[in-house]
Point group: C2
Chain length 390, copies 2
């Protein structure tokens, strides 16, 4: 063991690549874990010392993603800056980019994850299949769209929604009128589609254009929040190939750098793209144990411009079940020993304060068939107290 | 995103189990990674802020494992205290234990990893197969042992040796006399065995006696240092079963808590036990990707008295190759992008200052046959600059 340094100066470990990540949630937490293996220093910009990544010990700077000076100072020490969320204002991203900061994804690509209306319009212009939509700023516009598509309609805010927040089902024009009064910037309206399956495809893309794609997965939502991920998606080979083809094409057209998650609806009329996220994504948590390279390692490799890793699945069936805070706000950490009795499951807890409806962790199981594998992951997640009704 | 706390008080994340680990090397680093998944807080006692686990962001207290007061203060905040090395003096362990600190392994078990002579004597008394040995404190005793076994002999220090340090090959009595003059506490002497295979078996044991065992592996040494680990060991089913049986029996007889690695020699006369380590071990790094539960997660579960995880292999063949500092002291971090071109490999860098002969990282590959799998792991390790002769 080496003696402690006798000078007041803190000795330095060997140099390493430094990746900055704005935001310290569970995505940053799991990215920090992946960074340790590669000897990368992950540095987080966060407003809250209790954020999930910070309690995991990641290097951090306290500061707001809304504060351009804080962003500039933070970026100065990093080889590249990436994101755990979509809350860095576009004009700040643009200012950093103009200032010479290496951003992954670059601002014009990141905007796809920030602004649903921009994403829809661009995808439509690129002939990517998207639901019919309109940006309705007046009651007359809502009326015209309803006349074409019938009630109910789905209304979304163009920015800032997540986990079911920022999405409403409108059953008639009075509900629409009420919502429009609250949302001065207008509504992104779309028909309420008859969805047979929700599918997500994760793609990683490096600045050189190298691209690797993961198997298409089925995501199971409840209350607008992703509950379960089944990998591979139990869909036809043709549909999976079509979904993967769309995701790869979109990643290139957007100019994505890093991991991008493309969420799609399968309807009677075929596949339509719902949303894209330009960062590691809940639908990709299965890759930690269920693919040769996890989405978190892959994201780091992509944003640094390093060669990408293999995305081959490690088992015939992989199921991830989210642990969602229940009404009784049980801390899943208190139930961990019970959950660990379930054979062959991988528990990930985010050390977030338990609150109803909050993602507190996830459980992944690997197996030979999806039903048996899902059953084990569900059982462990239920024991963790997050899904008391299962 | 939550606002920063407005009071001067740092808000606290939800409570979690706290495991203390004395020592901040790469074993602590990889244990810290496993602790993040389970939401466990791992706290390190270390003398050096540049230690491998500390640069990974693990919570730490600076202090010496030789300082009883530092150990007591450190233990006060922990649910259980365990070790990344064998350098906590036995009488300090005993004092902590008497003070009511939960130690895993307990002192009488940890002594097996600290004192080779004690371990050999106890194993012999328990009728475990060990090499012939003597504790030689005089030239006459050396002479009698040499008369029985012939030169060369192997001499070891009873305490403090690792990675080939503290082990000598003695070719004649003058070499023995010279060494004896330097080592006042005497020599642990054994015949130089004709070893066909070195085998290691990892067992985890909880305070309740629950025991899980990993597949037997072959360890390939050079200059007394482990270079490669092949899992499962390419040996007969009978020999693997015998090695596993010995390891399980020993773990129970020692009263081990946590992970224990049992290193054995296969000779013409059968298996003999060489050494035991009562902590995660280099021979178990393959379990991070190559077993359902990694040795680091398993160690945490065992020391906390939680249910143990499955030890099933995740692939038919797993190979780990250590990245050892070369004479030119290349930093493997600088070679990482090149190494990542090798398909399907998992790189672990420890962020240790590169020095010749120092373990700086390891590479694990999974595959269907050992030769092909080993070839990939070797290739990546060579690209990392650690094994220029391969």
């Amino acid at each position: 063991m080496k003696p402690a340094a006798s000078t007041g100066q803190r000795p330095k470990p060997p140099a390493s690549a430094v990746v900055g990540m704005v935001g310290g949630g569970q995505l940053a937490r799991m990215t920090a874990q992946a960074a340790i293996s590669l000897g990368i220093e992950l540095r987080i910009l966060s407003t809250d010392p209790c954020d999930s990544a910070l309690t995991a010990g990641a290097e951090h700077v306290l500061g707001s993603p809304q504060d351009l000076n804080a962003l500039k100072d933070f970026a100065a020490g990093c080889d590249v800056v990436t994101y755990d969320h979509e809350h860095v204002p576009f004009h700040h991203q643009q200012a950093l980019y103009d200032h010479g900061v290496r951003l992954a994804p670059p601002p014009h690509a990141a905007l796809f994850g920030q602004d649903k209306l921009h994403a829809r319009r661009t995808m439509k212009a690129q002939h990517c299949p998207v639901p019919d939509f309109v940006h309705a700023r007046s009651h007359a516009e809502i009326g015209r769209f309803a006349a074409d598509h019938g009630w109910p309609l789905v209304a979304k805010t163009s920015r800032g929604g997540y986990d079911g927040r920022g999405v409403w089902i409108l059953h008639d024009s009075s509900q629409a009128r009420h919502l429009l009064r609250k949302l001065s910037q207008g509504l992104l309206l779309e028909p309420k589609l008859d969805i047979s399956t929700e599918i997500a495809v994760l793609v990683s893309r490096s600045p050189t254009g190298e691209t690797k794609i993961y198997p298409a997965v089925e995501t199971v939502q409840r209350d607008g929040m992703c509950r379960e991920i089944l990998a591979p998606a139990p869909i036809s080979v043709e549909l999976a190939a079509q979904a993967r083809h769309l995701a790869i094409r979109l990643a290139a057209e957007i100019g994505a750098v890093g991991v991008i998650a493309v969420e799609m609806f399968h309807t009677a009329d075929g596949l339509v793209i719902n949303e894209v996220a330009l960062r590691p994504h809940n639908s990709g948590h299965f890759t930690i144990e269920g693919a040769v390279t996890s989405q978190f390692e892959q994201h780091l490799r992509a944003v640094l411009g390093w060669p990408l890793g293999e995305t081959t699945p490690t088992a015939p069936a992989v199921a991830t079940v989210n642990v969602i805070g229940s009404a009784t706000a049980i801390d899943p950490a208190s139930r961990l020993p019970a959950a660990l009795t379930v054979p062959g499951i991988h528990v990930h807890l985010y050390r977030k304060a338990p609150r109803p409806g909050r993602k507190l962790g996830h459980v992944t199981a690997l197996g030979t068939t999806l039903p048996e594998t899902l059953q084990r992951a569900r059982h462990a997640a239920a024991l963790l107290g997050g899904n008391p009704d299962e």
